[in-house]
Structure formats: structure tokens, C-alpha cells
């Protein structure tokens, strides 16, 4: 009996060890473990942290930050950067409420119009980057500035009240205790995962970001992929804007979207997306967003002065990229 099971156990042990090694080699493993550790630590430190109300609150946050982090990551994968995601989100909030209240359009039409405008902005980004060979940083910096200006010009600093209840129905409700925006975020994440991992167009996005010339000579029309990623990023910003508007109940520009592009970039980088393009997966991007949200929320739960929040978040970003560098070096040495 024992003689029979011994080789069997050995046979089962080798793949298990390989699987463990594959797990260590997975770039996302660090951030996922960090998420779990931070969550556990905070849940043990404060009972209120893991309460349903707090978790639901984090769900709403996660949806709005996560959507733009995904859009941002798609652009970064092509080797670009999109500085406009936050500002465009803010503008979308105002545009939707303005169309809905001031122009008297139904909520659906207001949303579609805003999405169309955002899509157009993304198209302009993509064409400027591919056709005119303008640096993505500069192109989207222009939009960042203009979009903030447009927001201010429309509102003059006031809020737009009296929006359709439809927004609240999407942005504030729960389905089986789970916030609807969180569910929508999960749907988007799954769709993007499928696109990147299971379609040839997704593979081409990696190819273009990893080595544009090799992709071109292999017969890949990289420009199309790049343009469509900028469009997707802008659309996701507007979509996130719709959820934010519904959550707030009024079209307000103050504190919405400003600086969010930086947390989107931070989430992407923490999740293992390479800023030089071509590397990164949806699992990491989502985990990066979750980690930032856990820390953000955790500091509030621990009643730490919010003035210190950015110091901690910056420290985490620094740690994440250092850890990733060390891990990559370790893997490179072994192979």
C-alpha cells in the first residue's frame, strides 16, 4: 500500500510545486496578497470596517475609481497615457445634468449625448497620437485643462439640482445588498478581461504596446488598436461619471474627478501595469484599485487625520513599484 502511494504522492507533488512557482511568477500575486492582508488587519483592528454599511460604501467608491483605472490601463497598455480620465469624468457629470435639467432632455438622451461627446474626445486623442504622432501626455493634458475649464464655465461653481430619478436608480440602489455600480464595474472588468485575454484584438493591444515596429511588420494595424483604447478610456470616464452623478444626486463639480487620473495611474502601476506599455492584466488592475480603496477607507476607519492619507498612499505606491522591480529582477535572474 505504502509503496504504491509513494510515487503517486511524488507525482502529485511536482505539479503542485510548479503551480506554486507559477504563482510566485505571477506579477499580480503581491498586490492580491497585500489586499487580503490589509483587509484582515483592518477588520481585526475595527469592527466597523467589515460592517455591511462600510463594505457597501467601499463598493460605490471602487466602482467609480475602478472604471477609470481600467480605461487608463487600456491606454497605458498601448504605450500611451491618459491624463484626462478624471477631468473628463467631472465634465461628464456636469454635461449629463445640464442636458437633463437645463436642456430638459430625458435622462437616457442626456447619457447618450454625453457618451457620444466623450467618445469623440477619445477619438481625437487617438487620432492625434497615431496620425499626428503627438505625445499622449501632451494631448491628454490639453483635454485635462480644457475639460476642467468647461466644467467651471457651465456651472460657475454652483450645483445643478433636479436631475431625473433615473440616475439615482442606477447610482444609489442595491441588488441583493450589493451596490449596483459595483456590479456594473464587475461586468466591465469581466468584459475587458475577455477582450484582453481571449480575443485577437486584445493580444494585438499588447503587441502594439510591447513593440510597435514588430507589430507593424507582422501585419498588425496598431493605430486602430490605439485609437479604440483611447475611445474606450474616455467612454469609461463618462460611464463612471453617470454613476457618480447618481450617487451624489446633484450635478456638482467640486471635488469630482480632480486628481482621480493620478489614483487611476497609481492603481494600474500597483497592479503591475508597465508604464512603458505592453504589460499588465485586469486582475492586477482591479486588485490595485481595491488596495488603494482599502487603504483610503481604512485610514478613515482608524480615524487618522485625512491630511495624512496622501502620504500613506504615496508610500504604498513607492513600495509597490519597488517590490515589482525586485520581483522582476528575481524572475529575470532565474530564467
Amino acid at each position: 500500500m505504502t509503496t504504491q502511494t509513494a510515487p503517486a504522492r511524488e507525482g502529485a507533488g511536482a505539479p503542485a510545486r510548479n503551480r506554486l512557482r507559477a504563482l510566485v511568477d505571477t506579477p499580480e500575486v503581491g498586490v492580491v496578497v497585500a489586499c487580503a492582508a490589509v483587509f484582515l488587519a483592518l477588520a481585526l483592528a475595527r469592527d466597523t470596517f467589515a460592517s455591511a454599511v462600510n463594505l457597501q460604501g467601499m463598493g460605490f467608491d471602487l466602482a467609480q475609481y475602478g472604471l477609470i483605472a481600467i480605461g487608463e490601463s487600456l491606454v497605458i497598455l498601448t504605450g500611451g497615457i491618459d491624463l484626462s480620465v478624471g477631468a473628463l469624468l467631472g465634465t461628464s457629470v456636469i454635461l449629463m445634468s445640464w442636458f437633463n435639467v437645463n436642456a430638459g432632455l430625458p435622462a437616457g438622451v442626456a447619457i447618450l449625448l454625453t457618451l457620444a461627446i466623450a467618445g469623440l474626445v477619445g477619438l481625437i486623442h487617438g487620432l492625434a497620437v497615431t496620425r499626428l504622432k503627438m505625445p499622449p501626455f501632451v494631448v491628454t493634458l490639453v483635454t485635462y485643462t480644457v475639460a476642467q475649464g468647461v466644467t467651471l464655465a457651465i456651472t460657475s461653481g454652483t450645483s445643478i439640482v433636479g436631475i431625473s430619478p433615473f440616475f439615482g436608480n442606477v447610482g444609489q440602489t442595491y441588488l441583493a445588498q450589493i451596490p449596483v455600480p459595483l456590479l456594473l464595474f464587475v461586468v466591465v472588468a469581466v468584459v475587458v478581461w475577455f477582450f484582453l485575454e481571449r480575443t485577437y484584438a486584445g493580444r494585438q493591444v499588447y503587441a502594439v504596446g510591447g513593440n510597435p515596429e514588430a507589430a507593424r511588420l507582422a501585419g498588425i494595424r496598431g493605430d486602430r488598436r490605439i485609437v479604440s483604447m483611447y475611445v474606450t478610456s474616455s467612454l469609461l470616464s463618462a460611464f463612471a461619471g453617470m454613476l457618480v452623478l447618481g450617487r451624489m444626486g446633484v450635478g456638482s463639480a467640486s471635488g469630482v474627478g480632480v486628481g482621480w487620473e493620478l489614483s487611476a495611474i497609481a492603481a494600474a502601476v500597483i497592479g503591475g501595469v508597465s508604464l512603458t506599455g505592453g504589460q499588465g492584466r485586469i486582475l492586477g488592475i482591479v486588485a490595485g484599485t481595491v488596495l488603494l480603496e482599502l487603504i483610503n477607507n481604512g485610514l478613515t476607519t482608524l480615524q487618522i487625520n485625512s491630511d495624512y492619507t496622501n502620504i500613506v498612499l504615496g508610500g504604498v505606491l513607492g513600495l509597490a513599484i519597488t517590490a515589482d522591480r525586485l520581483r522582476a529582477r528575481h524572475v529575470a535572474k532565474r530564467s
Binding site: R203, A207, N211, E213, L217, A218, G278
Partner: protein, 486 residues
């Protein structure tokens, strides 16, 4: 007398040579398979090695692209005027001195007509290699390490490099020359060290080191070069017909290729070999003339059009133009077939995993797993993946630009075999190479280019090195070519 000790790195032993003595006034050549792409002879610390008098020219060019030729040449050291000056002088950049010394240095290695103020990234690859060599030369090393220094050079420039090596040893220095061109090795070696799978298998004197002997030691089996010849017959069907084809720095070119035919493109550096291939591929805009593919007009505006029409291209620079270095072998193998293998845009296992496994198997790529980054394979195995990428796309015409550059001799033979088999199956091959030997072995026909035009078209029975070199070095055509300044 110098003594160099080599070591292995990584979990796989890449290089296992207990020690290797380099003698002053001797050119030691290293040939054979080096398992990992890149620098087999990396000193622990570059600056340390430099202070010991070791200077190295790597296979890939570590030049700073944005900096000018002059700044690159004097990178990491001071000009003569500032070397012994006070601290303040040393801290300031000596622009005039840098330019002057750069010009002297280039003249010394025999490169002329280069504007030392131009950024290096604007120069063609062969010229960059010459500048890299000049840079190493400028360090006045005791030991000069040349890692495949001529792989991207035309015959004339290659001869200059070999000359430099001879001059260095004549002046009492030592040279370690890692070479893949056996004729060169035979030409200059005072001693030949053969590696196979990272181990030293033979240490030969120049008399012993015949090409056959070196190949035998490297491959570990008998592979006489007489075995290499193109398929006996060529089909009558015309695959490609170009008439009056022009592009920037190219043409007008007339060219016809039949199914199953292997046509070589020879010529000096800058003669337009790559430009011809890139123009056919649609990677460089055509400015005039007609191209027919399979009897139908063919005018690609993007390489994607060419791929769809049944053309494949193995580009010159593997790292820059072929590979996604950090991504798995699998991704690299299926890059050109992915679209047609996928179902409504969705990847299927058959289109991705199985296809890649098949490519790896068909081409005999040596690896641990198809999930490992392709950058961790040796040059030869990387190139086999690139070949597999295109062979599985089933093209009618395969364009090869330096098909065996940076590839060890064992893999070279395998690649020649692949080309041969593909041609037997009716594939038309247009192969540009700076290695004349290889074209002489594998081609039915060789066209020789000079100044962007075809100046000679030789059938196999007309092949001779002299004839090709004479044509390649031929005088400027009567009408000025587009690349020459008026």
C-alpha cells in the same frame, strides 16, 4: 599575457569554461553555440573592466541614440585637453575637443563622411556598429572584445574591422573575437576556440581550423557545406513581378520571382536591400512603378495588406522589429496567424496554444515552456520562432532580411534547411543578406544591388564572389539615385 576566467550565470549553465588565456599579439576567435542571446562575455562591472584595459563591442549597440556621434564616441571619458586639467575644466564639457577627437577616431578606423554632430539614432544600423567599434577602439584597450562585430556590416566595412583587429595585435594588444562568419574567423584567427552548448569542445590552431572542421566541432556531427544547395526545380508560375518599382532611396527596380524560387539580394550596406523588402511589404511607401502578386496588381499601404495577400517578412533586427521580448514564446509564435485562427475574433486553443506548440515542434525550437519570455531563448531559437510564425501563415512569398544574423552555426544549418523545404513546397523566397557565403549556398539566383538599384542578376552557374563584389562595388549609375545629395 592575460588570463580570463569565465563563469556560468543563471540556473542553467550557459558558459562553462574554466579559463581562457589571451596572449598579447594574438587574435583568439570564439565560435559556436552560445545558449543565451546577448553578451556571453560580460565583465562583472563594465567600469572595472575598462580600468583594467578591457574594451568590448557588443552584438547589440549600446549607444545613446539621442546623443551625437561625437558625444557617443567620447562617452565615459575625457578629451585629451581636459583629462589632466583642473577640477573645473574637467567638470565642463569640452565640445570642440570632443568633436575633433571624434573625427580623428573615425578617420583612424576608416569611417569617413559622417557628420559627428548627428544623433546616432538617425544613422543606419551598419554605421552605428562602426561607431560602436570606434568607441571601443578609442578607449585604447589592452584586450579588445568583439562580439560578432561584423554581423550587421557589409563586406567592405567588415574588412575594416578585421583590419583593426590585426592592427591591435600587431601593436601588442590581445583580441577576443566572437564570430559567426567562419570565413572571417579563418581569415584572422591566431587561435580558434569552439564552444558547443556553452562548453569548450575544441581549441584549434589556424592550420587545423578549416571551415569543415569548425562546423563539425560546433554542430557535433558531420555537416559538410556541400550538403547545402537549393531545390533542383523551380515552378513556372510567377509569384512576384515588380516593374519600375521606386521608393525613397530605391529603384527603379525590375524583379521577377517564381514559385519555389530562392532569390538572394546582395549588396553593400546602404545599397537598398532592406528598402526593397520593406517596399514590397508595404512597410515603406512606394513612390512609383507597378507590383504584381500572383498576376494581380498589388499595392499595399500597410504590412497588414501584404500579410493578407500572402507575404511574410523576417526583418533584419530581431529585437527591434520581430519580437515581443518580454512576452511568452507562444504570443510571438502566433502573432501573424492569430487573426485567421480565431473564431469571430475570439482566440481558440487551436489558434493559440496548439498552433504555438506545433510551431515549436515543427521548427525544433529548444525551450523549457512556450510560456517563457522569448527574450530568454538563444538568438537561433528566437529566429526559428520568427520563421515558424511566417511559415505557418502559409505565405506565397517570404521576404528574409538577414535571416541568420546573430544565429549560431547549428541553428543556421537548420534555418537553411527550413528555407529549402519551404521552397520545395512552392514558396518563393527573397533573401537579403550581407553574408555572401550564405546566399551562394542557398539561392537559385542572386540579384546584386547598388545605390538602390539592381545592377546584376546572376544564375547559380554564374555565381562567384568576385563577380558579385565587383557588381556591388560598381560605379554610380549615370542617373543620380534618390538617396545621393545633388
Amino acid at each position: 599575457m592575460l588570463r580570463a576566467v569565465k563563469k556560468s550565470y543563471g540556473p542553467v549553465t550557459v558558459l562553462d569554461i574554466p579559463e581562457l588565456e589571451l596572449k598579447r599579439g594574438q587574435i583568439t576567435c570564439v565560435v559556436g553555440e552560445i545558449l543565451i542571446a546577448g553578451r556571453p562575455l560580460q565583465p562583472g562591472r563594465a567600469d572595472h573592466a575598462k580600468s583594467l584595459g578591457v574594451s568590448m563591442v557588443a552584438q547589440e549597440f549600446p549607444l545613446v541614440g539621442r546623443l551625437s556621434v561625437a558625444e557617443n564616441l567620447l562617452l565615459g571619458r575625457h578629451t585629451r585637453a581636459t583629462a589632466n586639467a583642473g577640477a573645473l575644466r574637467r567638470a565642463l564639457f569640452d565640445r570642440a575637443g570632443t568633436r575633433q577627437e571624434a573625427r580623428d577616431l573615425l578617420a583612424d578606423v576608416g569611417v569617413d563622411g559622417v557628420d559627428v554632430d548627428r544623433p546616432v539614432e538617425q544613422l543606419p544600423v551598419p554605421l552605428r556598429q562602426m561607431i560602436e567599434i570606434a568607441k571601443a577602439w578609442g578607449n585604447k584597450p589592452l584586450v579588445l572584445i568583439l562580439d560578432e562585430p561584423t554581423s550587421s556590416l557589409g563586406p567592405v566595412e567588415a574588412e575594416k574591422v578585421l583590419d583593426l583587429a590585426r592592427r591591435h595585435t600587431a601593436a601588442g594588444g590581445a583580441v577576443l573575437f566572437i564570430g559567426h562568419r567562419l570565413d572571417e574567423v579563418r581569415d584572422i584567427a591566431d587561435r580558434v576556440v569552439v564552444l558547443r552548448s556553452g562548453r569548450l569542445v575544441a581549441d584549434l590552431s589556424p592550420e587545423e581550423a578549416s571551415e569543415e572542421r569548425m562546423i563539425r566541432e560546433m554542430v557535433g556531427s558531420e555537416l559538410a557545406r556541400g550538403d547545402i544547395a537549393p531545390p533542383a526545380s523551380v515552378e513556372a508560375r510567377t509569384v512576384l513581378k515588380a516593374s519600375g518599382l521606386t521608393a525613397e532611396g530605391l529603384g527603379p527596380v525590375d524583379l521577377e520571382l517564381r514559385a519555389g524560387e530562392i532569390v538572394g539580394v546582395a549588396g553593400l550596406m546602404g545599397s537598398g536591400r532592406s528598402r526593397l523588402l520593406h517596399t514590397i511589404m508595404g512597410a515603406q511607401p512606394r513612390t512609383g512603378g507597378e507590383v504584381e502578386l500572383g498576376g494581380r496588381p498589388f499595392h499595399p499601404r500597410h504590412p497588414a495588406d501584404a500579410v493578407a495577400a500572402g507575404i511574410g517578412l523576417v526583418p533584419e533586427d530581431r529585437k527591434e522589429q520581430s519580437l515581443l521580448l518580454q512576452h511568452p514564446v507562444r504570443w510571438n509564435a502566433t502573432l501573424a496567424t492569430l487573426r485567421r485562427d480565431s473564431w469571430r475574433g475570439v482566440l481558440t486553443p487551436g489558434g493559440d496554444r496548439e498552433r504555438s506548440a506545433k510551431i515549436v515542434k515543427d521548427l525544433g525550437v529548444r525551450l523549457h515552456s512556450q510560456e517563457q519570455p522569448i527574450g530568454s531563448l538563444s538568438g537561433g531559437n528566437q529566429q526559428k520562432v520568427v520563421f515558424g510564425r511566417w511559415l505557418h501563415a502559409r505565405p506565397d512569398l517570404l521576404l528574409l532580411d538577414e535571416p541568420t544574423r546573430g544565429v549560431d552555426v547549428g541553428a543556421k544549418a537548420e534555418i537553411y534547411q527550413l528555407i529549402d523545404t519551404a521552397a520545395q513546397n512552392g514558396l518563393a523566397v527573397l533573401a537579403a543578406s550581407s553574408e555572401l557565403e550564405e546566399l551562394l549556398w542557398i539561392c537559385h539566383r542572386i540579384v546584386v544591388m547598388a545605390h538602390g538599384r539592381i545592377v546584376a542578376d546572376l544564375r547559380r552557374e554564374q555565381f562567384s564572389k568576385e563577380r558579385i563584389m565587383t557588381a556591388a562595388a560598381g560605379t554610380q549609375p549615370l542617373t543620380a539615385s534618390t538617396e545621393a545629395p545633388a
